[in-house]
């Protein structure tokens, strides 16, 4: 490998909060060489982003405090350097891109201004920056760069915004690029494009790439070496391939075991009367067709997964089935009765049988209600389910069913972790003893190991109670392990549907093949072959 660019030695960072001091990073050592890609892998709260923030002086102090260590950039310690000297390095020698490009780009300035600003802030004269900006935008693959240079961030798609962030970061050809979860908010196909772009740019410029991620698939795709972090400490380092095939530390082993995509695919259920039968369901927003004559069935005890990229209409489908919004045309028969035409009274009754688990449990649980209130509200609304004297016992039972403790019922949502909150959301849905649960990206906000626990829980509940799931997700590996049947959507239409084995082992449509090829495998060797397959596919149908 090339020369040593960055050396982080014995770095410890504390955060002083009202609940006491949190040791975010403890005695961390790692280094980055020129031309190399280092991944820092960890789940939320592992401290994986903290050392990167320390490099760019982005930690707010207070509440943060760097208690020990040094960060050597080309031999000079950044932590003892004057603030103005560090500012001159930021964006010029060391640049960074972030997870959510929409919030990380200033909404009120044109992208051209924001890219050119990086150049002028580091002493380049204003003349010529526009031409350079257009050149950069072209390099990162923004079409019509000459006109788009004056557009604002909200006028681009998510993938384009990340390309713009990359253009901004690379404006001054930095020696180090730090990418903090650069593809987490993006669709799989867009993720593949962005990772390819990063690899190409690295080869062009020879920069060192520091990638912070929670996704072993991303590590397999792009990293040379990987540092695994857990609760502020490095538990394992090694080459991407070594760490995947020979994990030493129990945490790493557990992390790899939790990754979906290696289970046995479920067999198709025997044909019975469907619990939900959707016929030519459409939803138009003005001239925009969000849902275009979608037809599907869900059997009792079956999991039907709906996959597709953002904008494919999968969430619209969920909302329309639940009558959170009205369909434009078509019908959705639940046990033979049409949900679309149902009047309020019948709908109220049938809502007991169809429940929903949303993506973000932080937002979908009322922060001012205790867990008991949240779950027992079901009985307030539907008093025929249970007499009041039994409510407490039933809430206890439900909490145990989702793996929480009965005394958790007196707490409030903010006292739980993300995974626990999603369990509460599931317990709330179960309180009504539903026959069908619609899960809209129900586990995508959770860490892999928590995700695995919640998925096991959902599976268990299906086996015990015979619940059907309409499972909306973008994560194909997850779907592969969990679904009986898969429906692939694009632009509001169903492009392909079938048993899970057929979709994953013998997809018929090019779109499905593309989607599967673009999803990342955590195994670096498999990922390398998959990558070649994807390149061929895209060569075949560009």
């Amino acid at each position: 490998m090339g020369e040593r660019l960055l050396d982080v030695r014995n770095l410890s960072v504390d955060f002083h909060t009202t609940h006491g001091t949190v040791h975010a990073v403890r005695d961390v050592n790692w280094h980055l060489d020129r031309g190399e890609t280092l991944a820092i892998l960890g789940e939320s709260g592992s401290g994986k982003s903290v050392s990167a923030s320390a490099i760019l002086n982005l930690i707010d102090m207070p509440p943060g405090e760097i208690t020990s260590g040094e960060i050597l950039f080309e031999g000079a310690d950044l932590l003892t350097m004057h603030a103005e000297e560090r500012r001159k390095l930021n964006g010029c020698r060391i640049a960074m891109i972030f997870q959510d490009p929409l919030s990380h780009l200033n909404p009120v300035y044109s992208v051209g201004f924001q890219i050119a600003e990086t150049m002028t802030a580091h002493g380049q004269s204003k003349a010529g920056t526009r031409a350079k900006t257009i050149e950069l935008l072209e390099r990162v693959g923004i079409p019509n760069a000459e006109t788009k240079v004056d557009a604002y961030p909200h006028q681009f798609s998510g993938g384009q915004r990340q390309r713009i962030m990359i253009a901004m970061a690379l404006a001054l050809k930095p020696d180090i690029l730090i990418a903090d979860e650069p593809t987490t908010a993006l669709d799989v196909t867009v993720q593949a494009q962005i990772l390819t772009l990063l690899e190409e740019l690295q080869q062009e410029t020879g920069m060192g790439l520091l990638l912070i991620t929670h996704d072993l698939g991303v590590v397999a795709e792009i990293a040379d070496r990987v540092v695994v972090m857990n609760s502020g400490e490095i538990v394992e380092t090694g080459s991407a391939s070594d760490v995947y095939h020979n994990p030493q530390h129990p945490y790493t082993k557990q992390l790899i075991a939790a990754i979906p995509g290696n289970g046995i695919m479920a067999q198709q259920l025997d044909q019975t009367a469907p619990i939900l039968q959707i016929e030519k369901l459409s939803k138009h927003y003005g001239a925009f067709v969000a849902l275009d004559e979608v037809s599907l069935t869900v059997l009792p005890g079956e999991t039907v997964a709906v996959v597709g990229e953002s904008g494919s209409g999968k969430s619209t489908l969920a909302k329309t089935v639940l009558r959170l919004q009205d369909a434009t045309s078509g019908e959705a028969l639940f046990e033979g009765r049409d949900l679309v035409q149902m009047d309020r009274k019948d709908l109220f009754k049938v809502r007991r049988d169809i429940q929903m688990v949303f993506q973000d449990p932080t937002q979908s649980l009322n922060p001012r209600m205790s867990i008991y209130d949240i779950i027992s509200e079901a009985f307030v609304i539907h008093p025929e389910i249970l007499d009041k004297q039994h409510w407490k016992a039933r809430v206890c039972e439900l909490l145990q069913q989702v793996g929480l403790k009965p005394d958790h019922m007196y707490r409030h949502p903010h006292q739980f972790s993300g995974g626990q909150r999603q369990r509460i959301a599931i317990a709330r849905a179960l309180a009504l003893e539903p026959k069908l649960i619609v899960c809209d990206e129900a586990v995508s906000a959770l860490d892999v190991s928590i995700q695995a626990q919640v998925m096991t829980l959902l599976k268990q509940l299906q086996d015990d109670l015979g619940i059907s799931y309409l499972f909306i997700a973008h994560d194909l590996l997850l779907v592969r392990d969990f679904a009986h049947r898969v429906i692939v959507m694009q632009n509001g239409k169903i492009v392909e549907q079938g048993p899970v084995e057929q979709i994953f082992d013998a997809p018929r449509e090019a779109y499905t093949r593309n989607l599967i090829a673009a999803s990342l495998s955590p195994d670096p060797e498999i990922q390398a072959t998959r990558r070649i397959a994807l390149d061929e596919l895209q060569g075949a149908n560009p």
Binding site: L56, N57, L58, R87, K88, L89, N90, G91, C92, A95, M96, F98, D100, S103, H104, L105, N106, P107, V108, Y109, S110, E117, T118, A121, H122, Y152, H154, M165, M168
Partner: protein, 304 residues
């Protein structure tokens, strides 16, 4: 944009008609001005003649439609008190008020935005504490009290500035200063809060990662985003000043539209009251429109 302006104009015209209706009939409820203008021993004949001249003998509805008819020709009627067109009287007063409002608000905007932004940059720092302390006092102190105390100290005791009236630059200092205090305190607080949010946002983090200087981070990146809620409050405060700072104008004997309105109501000079209200209402409508346009200039995501 044009469509938006048009629909806003129509909406404002409708509310203006409602306002005319309300003010016309409410002011008639205060009583007949005849008694105020003619001597106590005036004959019934001359009283009738006075009513005839000013159209006060007609039924109220007829008076109203006559008034509307004149209004369409932009004729606001004669002032009963001053025997000159009501609109001239009002425009004179409004001129003074407009100057007072523009001078005061310009100072408020400049100082509150700069000081509020700097206070937000180091939350809890010495500068922030001082700015917060004084702005809270400013935002909560009653201006009539400050006005009187200021006259006692600076005019009566120290003799630095005149107590009231207009004429020289010195006459402006006290009214402007007193009117400045409350909106300054309020807007500084809002700028500070809004800037704290903006400075902790993700795009400011990006700017820091890009190596942008602190001055540009505050005044380029954060401020433009933070200004949106601030502008709403600025508009609100400016509207209050345009309405005529009645109390302050009265205390300082400043011949603005607020003082004129109070005097005219007491004198039952209906035409002047109506004209004053319509003019200020129109001014406030125009200002709100300017604020909407400013919004869309500051934030490209807002398009009408």
């Amino acid at each position: 944009m044009l469509k938006f302006l048009g629909s806003r104009a129509i909406a404002s015209a409708i509310s203006l008609v409602g306002l005319i209706l309300l003010v016309f009939f409410l002011s008639r409820l205060t009583g007949d001005p005849t008694g105020l203008y003619l001597p106590l021993d005036a004959s019934e004949e001359s009283r009738n003649q006075f009513r005839e001249i000013h159209g006060l003998n007609d039924p109220l509805l007829i008076q109203f439609f006559n008034y509307l008819g004149d209004l369409v020709r932009l004729d606001f009627g004669e002032s009963i008190r001053r025997s000159e067109p009501a609109i001239d009287v009002v425009l004179r007063g409004f001129g003074w008020t407009l100057q007072l409002a523009v001078v005061t608000m310009s100072l408020v905007v400049v100082f509150s935005i700069i000081l509020g932004s700097l206070a937000a940059f180091h939350v809890g720092g010495v500068f922030d504490r001082i700015a917060t302390f004084f702005s809270l006092i400013g935002a909560s102190a009653p201006d009539f009290w400050i006005a009187i105390v200021a006259i006692v100290i600076f005019s009566v005791n120290l003799g630095w500035v005149p107590t009231s009236g207009t004429g020289t630059v010195w006459h402006w200092i006290l009214p402007v200063s007193v009117l400045f205090i409350r909106p300054f305190g309020l807007i500084l607080q809002i700028v500070r809060g809004s800037m704290i949010t903006a400075l902790s946002s993700a795009y400011v983090k990006t700017a820091r990662a890009k190596g942008i200087k602190n001055k540009a981070i505050i005044f380029v990146h954060a401020l433009r985003n933070a200004l949106l809620p601030v502008i709403t409050v600025i508009g609100d405060q400016a509207a209050a000043l345009l309405n005529g700072a009645v109390v302050v104008e009265t205390i300082f004997g400043f011949p603005g539209v607020g003082k004129l309105m109070i005097d005219s109501i007491l004198q039952r000079d209906f035409t002047v009251v109506m004209a004053a209200i319509m003019l200020t209402a129109t001014a406030i409508f125009v200002m709100n429109l300017v604020i909407d346009i400013l919004y869309s200039i500051l934030d490209p995501r807002i398009r009408y």
